[in-house]
Amino acid sequence: MSPLSPGNKNESRPTYWRSLDELVDDPEFRQQLEHEFPEGASQAPDGVGRRQFITVMGASVALASLTGCRRPVEYIVPYVRQPEEVVPGRALNYASTMPLGEDAFGVLVRSNEGRPTKIEGNENHPSTRAYDLPGQNKRPEPRGGASSLMLASVLDLYDPDRNPLVRLDEEDRPAQPPHGEEWDRLAELITGADLGSGAGLAVLSEGFSSPTIERLAKRFGARFPEARWVTYDAISNENVYKGTEAVFGRPLRPVYSFDRASTVLALDYDLVLGESNNVRHAADFAKGRHVEDKHEDEKSVNRLYAVEGMYTLTGGIADHRLRLRSSQIGAFTATIANRLGIKADGAGDFDRRFVDSVVADLQTAATQNRALVVAGRRQPAVVHALVTAINEKLTTADSLVSAPRTVDYVAVEDTRTSSSEDLTALVADMDSGDIKSLIIIGGDPAYNTPGDLDFVGALQRLPFSMCLADRFNETAAHVKHFLQRSHYLESWGDARAYDGTLSLIQPLIEPLYKSRTTAEFLNIVSTGKDVADYDLVRQTWNDLIGAVDENAWRRIVHDGVHAGSAYKPAPAKLVTRRLETFLANNPVARPATGMELTLTVSNSIYDGRYANNGWLQELPDPVTKVTWDNVAAISPATAHKLGIKRKGQKVRVTAGKHSIELPALELPGHADDEVTVALGYGQGGGRVSQQVGRNAYTLRSSQSDTVGEVSVTLVEGTHLLATTQDHQSMEGRPLLRENSLVDYKKSARHHELLPAMHEMDENLQLYGSHSYASGYQWGMAIDLNLCNGCNACTIACQSENNIPVVGKVQTEKGREMSWIRIDRYFRGDTDSPQMRHQPVPCQHCENAPCEQVCPVAATVHDAQGLNVMVYNRCIGTRYCANNCPYKVRRFNFFNFTKGKPEVHKMLQNPEVTVRSRGVMEKCSFCIQRINHAKIDAKLGDRRVRDGEVMTACQQACPVGAIVFGDINSDREWNPTDTRVMHVRGSDRNYKMLQELNARPRASYLGKISNPSATLAPAVAASNDQGHEGH
């Protein structure tokens, strides 16, 4: 059986890029086979004779060997008429928008000779505006930040599984017929299905927020007036809308301004990953977090309280964290509400000092309208209703204050939100036969509908079913007609950002395979006419913004957004009686007794739509550091109770009729008696997603997002878990240093960071050193106070520097290739420790330990202070990696790029060498970008401007934790401090392992936490001793 076929249950053979291409033939060869012979020749027809068989096989073998001995004929075609603006060798950037459910993120896409190769955040887009530390006297240029999902979405464009020709059936033959043909027959298919006016027809669409799709959905409604439109997303803000509806009488979307909040209470809410508008939220939070060294009042630093079960990144950056099971959040919210004067039943008994501190801080902040409470979207509607009421209460507490609010409520337009009730009703009607035809737009309902709905069974019974999907996913496998949807980088389209700003999607490339956009699809279905996506969008926008002239339109296309089109805050008034009625009908649920299951969105692959993305699968979860798997995360105490002794021991989680077996992972700081499982794994259909993790959607219920009580039992066997960090404690070493704000300010003369560090005489040198006093001297500063560990830098680097995916087995062996990794440490006791993150790129030591030991001088220093790798010279002794105290060097143990799918070659950054087997590699401070800037400067007869060179990690970072630039302090060269010099001038600046006298060019700014005076000062207490926590 093929390793690709969904039926393959061979667990001992995990699927990943490299081994797959050893197992499966080169797709090019298959394609060639297809074209060379008449249809069916490549597979033996029934009853084939021996002679015929041998003929065909012989030809195949001959052909196969031909590809080996003959150089393929290649044509190079020059531009006969060069397109405007295209200069070969010079990349162009285009603004576009990445839609993700109801969200839309602004992107800037780099195009190298027509190939989209790299994604950045769009600084003009409200959802991706990054925060940056101010420099001396001036603010930095606006910059776009990005999330790992945005950055990795470019890999999805080149997903070889999107190619219908190389999709294989169970017997390893190309799937027949190639599904691209369906597009040509779509109008016929719809006519042939005899859908009438839509009776018995339903559309199951993913959630969206797009004027054009909404317009065409309405036209669809006009064409099929009796058809039903159901919207379903596995992860959605449904509960949030229900909560605001309970308070305001209509569903409104809360738009948060974290930068204005001085006290934030996050209830099961991860502002960094997993919730809507996360990039902007993280940036805004960082703005409120930023610590100036000397003059500033400590009140200007915000304070974050997190209440959650599973450790999230928000828990990591929180000043205080209370671990509660997901089902206890309701009771906790009710407790806070009661304390603030909102009547709600179901309050519980929680850590009194914590509650007191939260309430006091919220009330203080409320006097200036600077308090904010947020709740995660998997919490039930009642929690959101209470949170909305609390925020209203805190905002209107003092009517004299006219400061801007921390949360605005807006009425959304052009948006359809998931409704679980509608889905349940749809499945029931599909079962009963009321619905006979189903058109599925986007999503993967066959995979991600709750386990208590037999969606697949109902789907298979339908006489007519059709789906429009991004790739051949599980849904596609169960419908009669599959149509491939274009990637957003191949599409014209539009979207509304979280705050309502109109955003434009423009294509970077013609569709690689035969595919159309959702708008085109809906248009064909409703009108039978095939209209280009551009025309559909243009038509919508003529209605939206009026007929604008071509220049104004081009401005919008150029910027990616239509400025000033955000939603206006809707008049929202808290009606107490309505809320009370709602609370009476929807009481706060009692916390579950016994073991509880919480299903979370994956920190790497979101709800599973990115499951076929190798970069994201190999991206370590920022909390658990697990790659290529979902795990059952439990607290150490619960692990002890279950009798778990080793990493990866399997447990069976049973909810109702369904159960899955998962490797257990002990996670310090996790709530007791709760097991947390990430969604999105265990998908069939993709060569990467295949056999990675287990599908936790089967445990989900259609009634609520929280599962409640489950049974968890230890079962036989251990699962191989590929974690990139096995040791959780810093062992008391001064690697990641920090202090609390109060203590830090107290030590006014000598601002102290802990753990303490030994100083070293820099003059102690065995060999003479270079002075590095002239010209550009590149340096980096990483502010640990701003970093939240979101992983965007790691993916940005992978994309920029052509870093290969090595697969689960190699990752487990410790051979991951990431050039910038994020270290995660726990401090304190195992029950409620603190979690800290530290990004570690190559430190570019001036006195580099790696350079002295290389026998062939393959790693050397250049005059700009960069530690450079000469791949061609490297013979691979790995001595440098052994001698690197920061362990940032990565070795090509195999030829990791050998098995790359052909189409991935289009993704490669042409300015970065693809490394071969047997050579060492590491972070280069994006030397290709430095050289680009220097060439530009030279052509312009000027110097490289401060901020002109951004490393990929820096450019992606939403919170501006990474600052890069020239650090030459020679006043003739740099009359004023560059931004990085200014940042490095901070008292918090230190160099990791300074006592080794390696003189790194990267430095860190210590983390400053802002704990409440009434709660235990967490930092000082536990800082001296690192704790053993694994």
Partner: protein, 460 residues
């Protein structure tokens, strides 16, 4: 030699030997026909060849796929290949020590064992030299380590201990080979003179370099041998010191220690003697050489094993003390981690094999028991392999950055290449036993009672 010394010191060679019987006993081994080769030799040879074939296949696969087939990873960039390298270089110490240092110290008991100890050195260094060549990521360009003038003006990095290492081992091999060959010239001449067929006569004649045994030739020969011994002596100390620089010059806690050079040399002599012991016992059993390799020789070697083993034990203790005394937290952690961390099993294997077991040689009876010394010699070699494993792997697995710590697990190919290197070593050694004089004929004659100019006078 006067009468009273003769009574106080037992003869170095036992049995009734004349000059002729010495030539006869040693040369006949190399002159035997196929039928005359002992069965045990064939058995060992077949096993060795299988292991050697395994080495070839493993290396072929290694070159084809890349060193990822081993267990090496981040942060343990050096695994068994370098462990094996240091192990074999260590083995290669005893030969030259016996030949050169004991020669200069006039320890005449060395004559019985020096030849095959030297051969062992050569073969061990060949095995050792194999590993740095194959452990690099791109073995086809490993020669870039060699400084040669080229059009690009690129030279190797002379600051790198790996480069020093290459010179040190290369020099040691060259000198050891010359020393071994020079010492063999009179014996080759003896064998040439005894040869019956033409091919043998000519080939041995070529290698004997026309040695006829004239007084002038003996004088030149002795002088050359003495000079080579003088050159070799510092090399014995330098080669493993330089090997230890690979570690000592780095800044990794647990490697960065000044004790490494003497400690490595003591360890090398220790393991080298243990290996000579193993081979001597095998050789004297297979070829019935008990008269030439007597219990006295073996007992002397056991004394050296006891001495060097204790030196190594002292070094282990000293390392621990210094790591505490230095006040360096990383250093302290590295050593405590060795003894109590994930690899404690390897550490305690090393301590028991190298320090505890050899203490049995304090007892004369044990020093003279063939079985005991054979077992101990093997235990010592296991222990010394583990010493290198402990130094290399446990240190790298847990250095400065706790976030990068990982556990090294060897793969099938790690094991097969180690086994294969023994195959290479034993194949070469068995061929040596079969085709070259395993004991120095001329030197043995020199220590026979008959060699004493007054021998016949006293008899009468």
């Amino acid at each position: 030699m006067s009468a009273h010394t003769e009574t106080s010191e037992p003869p170095l060679i036992t049995g009734t030997q004349s000059f002729h019987t010495v030539s006869q006993r040693i040369s006949e081994v190399t002159e035997a026909r196929i039928q005359g080769t002992p069965k045990l030799w064939w058995v060992l040879m077949v096993i060795s060849l299988l292991a050697l074939a395994n080495l070839g296949a493993s290396i072929a696969y290694l070159f084809w796929e890349g060193i990822g087939i081993w267990g090496v990873q981040n942060p343990v960039g050096w695994g068994w290949a370098i462990v094996n390298f240091v192990f074999w270089v260590g083995i290669g110490h005893a030969g030259t020590l016996i030949s050169a240092i004991l020669f200069l110290l006039r320890q005449r008991w060395r004559t019985s064992i020096n030849r095959f100890a030297e051969a062992m050195t050569i073969f061990a260094v060949i095995c050792a030299g194999l590993f740095p060549g194959i452990h690099v990521g791109r073995p086809w360009v490993a020669w870039w380590m060699v400084p040669y003038p080229n059009q690009m003006g690129i030279w190797p990095n002379f600051r790198s201990p790996l480069l020093w290492d290459m010179f040190a081992v290369g020099t040691y091999f060259t000198v050891s080979l010359l020393f071994w060959y020079t010492g063999m010239i009179p014996d080759l001449a003896t064998m040439r003179d005894r040869a019956k067929n033409k091919i043998r006569k000519i080939s041995l004649g070529v290698f004997a370099l026309g040695f006829r045994g004239s007084g002038k030739q003996w004088q030149n020969y002795e002088k050359t041998y003495l000079i080579l011994a003088g050159i070799s002596t510092p090399l014995v100390l330098s080669v493993h010191s330089v090997v230890s620089f690979d570690f000592a010059v780095s800044l990794v806690p647990g490697w960065h220690t000044t004790i490494f050079p003497p400690y490595f040399v003591a360890g090398a002599i220790f393991s080298g003697f243990a290996m000579v012991m193993t081979l001597a016992i095998v050789a004297r059993t297979v070829y019935k050489m008990e008269d030439f390799i007597t219990l006295k020789h073996l007992e002397n070697m056991n004394k050296i094993i006891l001495l060097t083993g204790s030196m190594v034990g002292y070094a282990y203790g000293c390392e621990f003390f210094i790591s505490w005394y230095s006040g360096n937290d990383y250093e302290r952690f590295a050593f405590i981690n060795r003894a109590t961390g994930d690899y404690a099993w390897a550490y305690w294997t090393m301590i028991s094999c190298n320090v505890i077991f050899p203490q049995i040689f304090w007892f004369r009876k044990m020093r003279r028991s063939i079985l005991v010394m054979f077992v101990i010699s093997i235990i010592v070699n296991i222990g010394m392999w583990f010493e290198r494993f402990v130094i290399i792997v446990t240190t790298l697995a847990n250095d400065f950055m706790p976030s990068a710590w990982d556990y090294f697990t060897p793969t099938f190919f790690d094991i097969s290449i180690l086994v294969g290197s023994f195959g290479l070593f034993l194949t070469l050694f068995l061929l040596f036993l079969r085709f070259l004089p395993m004991v120095a004929i001329a030197e043995i004659k020199g220590v026979l009672p008959q060699a004493d100019p007054h021998f016949y006078e006293e008899k009468h």
